[in-house]
Symmetry: C2
Subunit: 301 residues, 2 copies
């Protein structure tokens, strides 16, 4: 276990987390949230999305948010971008990195972004090209990489097909998502056995949801057994699950980092500050945070 690498966290709370929240937050609350996260030791924060305000009202203010945040040196502030128009706005907002979004499941992609997997990839081909010409690194989300809410279990071969197209297009890193939280460590091993022979470890991020309580076990499996260093997480467990109202969503950054820490890793994160940053959103969202650490309160060493 001593050879497990230092874990790297991509904080997705301000985008992936908030976008599933029903109550729209004022931009000032988002800016304060991101600024607090910047002080907590995170190296990358997905701070917004340049998508249609009709489709995702919660992200309509991303330009204002990017303008308002205090950027800290050494932190990458990224944004989700679905098309060339979004990329224009992202470039104006001076994002440090962009992310595009597709899925391993045809049915999910169709219902989520109204395109087949192949169409979605063709749609963002010019986005990726232009982003790279502008010197921006590109992440691609591959959601429903283990289970799909419509199709059930998704085999590694479907993930590998999408991953192949994305790598060929020049995407820098992949975020492999267990969108509905049904993956187990056995599923994680099966997928990593297929994925890692074609993808260098540092270009893989795993994006777990804690819907069924298996996110921490999955992340530790990938890190301890396969030496995968990169994980997405969401401060306060922000996010919920649109397919199971009331259920947990993205794994909480503080829960995941606590577990890595308890396994001996140096995370560089201030967990009490992350927990507190998320807790400040409770009034806006009208509910307590979903993280385990949020319920425990300040951590005693």
């Amino acid at each position: 276990m001593s050879a497990a690498p230092r874990p790297r966290f991509v904080e997705v709370g301000p985008r992936d987390g908030l976008q599933n929240e029903k109550r729209t937050l004022p931009p000032a609350a988002k800016i304060a949230f991101i600024d607090a996260l910047s002080q907590a030791g995170l190296e990358e924060i997905e701070a917004g999305a340049f998508v249609s305000p009709q489709a995702v009202p919660q992200m309509a203010d991303s330009s204002e948010v990017f303008e308002g945040i205090k950027r800290k040196e050494g932190i990458r502030y990224s944004a989700l971008v679905p098309n060339e128009k979004g990329l224009e706005r992202a470039l104006q907002a001076k994002v440090d990195k962009i992310a595009v979004f597709t899925a391993a499941s045809e049915s999910f992609n169709q219902r989520n972004i109204n395109a087949s997997v192949a169409q979605s990839i063709e749609r963002f081909r010019p986005v990726v090209l232009k982003a790279r010409q502008s010197g921006l690194p590109v992440r691609a989300y591959v959601s429903t990489a283990f289970h799909c809410p419509y199709e059930g279990r998704i085999g590694p071969e479907k993930v590998m097909a999408v991953v192949g197209d994305l790598l060929e297009m020049g995407v820098d890193e992949l975020s492999i998502g267990d969108t509905i939280g049904r993956a187990s460590p056995v599923d994680v091993r099966r997928l990593l056995d297929a994925l890692l022979p074609v993808l260098p470890l540092e270009r893989v991020f795993l994006h777990f949801h804690d819907t069924y309580g298996m996110a921490v076990a999955n992340a530790l499996t990938a890190w301890q057994e396969y030496k995968v260093p990169g994980f997405d997480s969401s401060a306060g467990g922000l996010g919920g699950c649109p397919y199971a109202p009331g259920a947990s969503g993205n794994v909480a950054t503080e829960d995941l980092a606590f577990a890595f820490s308890a396994c001996g890793a140096e995370t560089g994160l201030d967990l009490d500050n992350i927990r507190a940053a998320a807790a400040c959103l409770e009034t806006h969202l009208g509910r307590p945070m979903a993280s385990h650490l949020g319920r425990v309160g300040p951590i005693r060493s």
Copy 2:
């Protein structure tokens, strides 16, 4: 992984779970809860405790509960017993098995049952002897086996000392408890590396709390890597944590069994029925159940 044994669950919700709940349940609600659990495929249910009603008011009705339940063939109904007086009551109630309770941490034992570890063991020596003479199997709880709320980290050598005394006394099985939920898979490996050379696998049960969200990862580590088959859990995640009000307590039976199932195990449990059995207590307890599955709702295959 194919060699991992069939997991065995000891349901501790009606005793360990309820005993930490502030609102006292009527015996009829406990009886209905246990009867529902009996129908859900569990093989052992800790149904009560014959302790001082002043010390643990929630357990004052254990004789009535044992009298009221519909015992199902093949299920062991056990009870916690602190002393000879408790054993008399347990024998009258025709329990199938008893459990005694101590801790690996001196400070915890002192504050929890007002005895040193050595005193607690001497105190139940005649209980264990008499129970065995009566043909009852005996379980011993060793709590704070990883961390103590007062002393911090507990080394495996402290656990091994208590375990040695218990085995020498003739205890049949041990339930090794992470009372405050701070153990990680690394801690689990460290303890099992010390424990398993002296204790046959089938006599070890691990008792995890999900306070920090690591219970499922810990259980899967013990099961997959060490082939430990036995785990304690609590339907609905009943229990809470007296050291962190509002935090999760015992790992939920349905969450743990779901994770084992997702890893390919045949658990024999009906998770929807376990979830539903716990949900029936929500009105009495005045709060929703804490399990992940409880929040997701009925499981779609």
